[in-house]
Amino acid sequence: MSDAAFSKSEMMIVAAARELAGQRVCFVGVGLPNIAVNLAKLTVTPHLELVYESGVFGARPARLPLSIGDPTIVTGATSVVSMYELFSFYLQGGLIDVGFLGAAQIDRFGNINTTVIGDYETPVTRLPGSGGACEIAINAREVFVIMRQSKRSFVETIDFRTSAGNLGGAEASERIRREQGWLGRGPSVVVTDLGIWHFDANGEMRLDSLHPGATLDDVRNATGWEVSVAPALAQTPAPTADELRLIREELDPGGAYTG
């Protein structure tokens, strides 16, 4: 692959990394978020502090971590604590600005399913479940979602609500979050392999930017509801040579996530 060309996954990661500009403390999930966050730290937000649910704050990984529990995020970290302390004092205590989530299914309001496809008791497909996602969605100040989109993942109705998004809409979401004292304002951006979505006044996903090479039809064919498009739909700037170099040479040389 020449530097000029880039994969959809690379575009998705670059777009997600750019969205992190100006953020301070990020709760890192495994896989795509991990690469996006590390790319952001090398480009748009060098002072970003990484918190891993495994109990690590201020990680200085010497290689791309293979998992969120990789020993390379421990050696040289600022602090390594028990999971009790990480979830109690860092996440529930309100120190996390951005939580990064993936999803198997998402609805137009940003509610997420990572538990089952089909019925809970007798599922067609058993997914990993919440892990820390349901508490990240409630306690992180805002939530970023990164996922590939299709009619199977962007659905009218999710089969199971693992993590709360804007619930039934912005009004209900804001009222419930205020009444129940949630620290989280909810999802603020969804970055996919086709574009960048933010949430409108009703708390519904709105396509704000199309990735190079992707068309509105591609998006509509990969979305299970009537797509809402921003009046001034932008085109996502292509990855720079520098961004691609960092991904290919430093963050994911094997192309495990971006090939």
Binding site: V30, G31, E53, S54, G55, V56, L66, S67, I68, G69, D70, P71, V74, T75, G76, V80, V81, S82, M83, Y84, F87, S88, L91, Q92, T115, G118, D119, Y120, T122, P123, V124, T125, R126, L127, P128, G129, S130, G131, G132, A133, C134, E135, I138, N139, F160, R161, T162, S163, A164, L167, I176, E179, Q180, G181, W182
Partner: protein, 304 residues
């Protein structure tokens, strides 16, 4: 290991082999398989490969967990086949595995309540999700200060908790560095505790750095010395995760026959960790050795 498992793990027990990606006692899990324990309830935040193997071997009746997968790689086939409708619960199919599901913090809270002898642990999770519907043990609780509700999870008190660690003394005073997961809470919550260590050290080594002690011998029933007992997971400072194994597992776990023959070759046909390591080979083991990164020493001071 044989004697510790034979004496302390009983059919029908609730067993927790904890360790978040770090310090997972595969050696204990394999010994439980070899001894053909049955009807166990297996508790663990991340069932990981070890519970996939144990459930494939038929030791378990029920699983209590918060995240089901092969971290950074893929799925756990044996467990999924025991849960999904196409492969379990039907005629001629194995019975569906009973599951009890929480979030990570919920599981940590359950161990904490168990360790602290509390009737529940409160946390700000589960709001507006389907999880309390899926698991009625996740309940609402009102604040006595009139400022709303949070959720509660019940205490989890395993019959046996098994923890792998870098080192312990003969009395079971155990020190861990690197990721701490929730091993301390799981150990204090348990009726019986087995500690498996890379190295048995003199009491003086432990007493030289008392803040490093995670589990006191007071609650430990057996100390087993089993170098590389956490392979293919890792031990901070001693060896790296054997990621090749985690990648290889993805193919094995998708195929029940391949999985069963793997169990024969790597568990049933072996009599313990020593032969497992022989079979693995010295080169493979050597390839996992990290460089050195010393913590440095602090001074506690002599006050006589």
């Amino acid at each position: 290991m044989h004697d510790a498992v034979a004496a302390l793990v009983r059919d029908g027990d609730t067993v927790a082999i904890e360790g978040f990606t770090h310090l997972i006692s595969f050696a204990a899990g394999h010994e439980i398989i070899r001894q053909r324990k049955r009807d166990l309830t297996l508790a663990r935040l991340t069932p990981d490969l070890i519970y996939d193997q144990m459930i494939a071997a038929g030791v378990a009746r029920k699983l209590i967990f918060s995240w089901l997968g092969n971290p950074g790689v893929g799925g756990l086939g044996a467990i999924r086949r025991r849960i999904e409708s196409a492969t379990s619960g039907g005629a001629g199919q194995p019975p569906r595995l009973e599951i009890e599901e929480y979030s990570h913090f919920g599981m940590v809270g359950r161990y904490t309540a168990g360790a602290a002898n509390l009737p529940f642990y409160p946390l700000r999770s589960y709001f507006e999700t389907d999880m309390p519907k899926a698991n009625p043990l996740i309940r609402e609780i009102e604040s006595p200060y009139g400022d709303g509700k949070v959720y509660a999870v019940p205490p989890l008190k395993p019959d046996v908790s098994i923890v792998h660690a870098q080192r312990a003394d003969a009395n079971g005073n155990t020190q861990i560095w690197g990721l701490l997961g929730c091993q301390k809470e799981a150990a204090f919550a348990a009726e019986r505790v087995i500690v498996v260590v890379e190295e048995l050290v003199d009491e003086a080594v432990i007493r030289a750095d008392p803040n490093r002690t995670v589990i006191p011998g007071l609650i430990v029933d057996a100390v087993v010395v089993e170098p590389y007992g956490a392979h293919p997971s890792y031990v901070q400072g001693a060896y790296d995760r054997d990621n090749r194994f985690y990648l290889d597992w993805d193919a094995i776990t998708k195929d029940e026959d391949a999985l069963q023959s793997w169990l024969n070759d790597w568990v049933y046909d072996l009599d313990g960790r020593a032969t497992y390591l022989e079979k693995l080979g010295p080169e493979r083991i050597a390839s996992l050795k990290p460089g050195s990164a010393p913590s440095g020493s602090v001074d506690y001071g002599r006050y006589a």
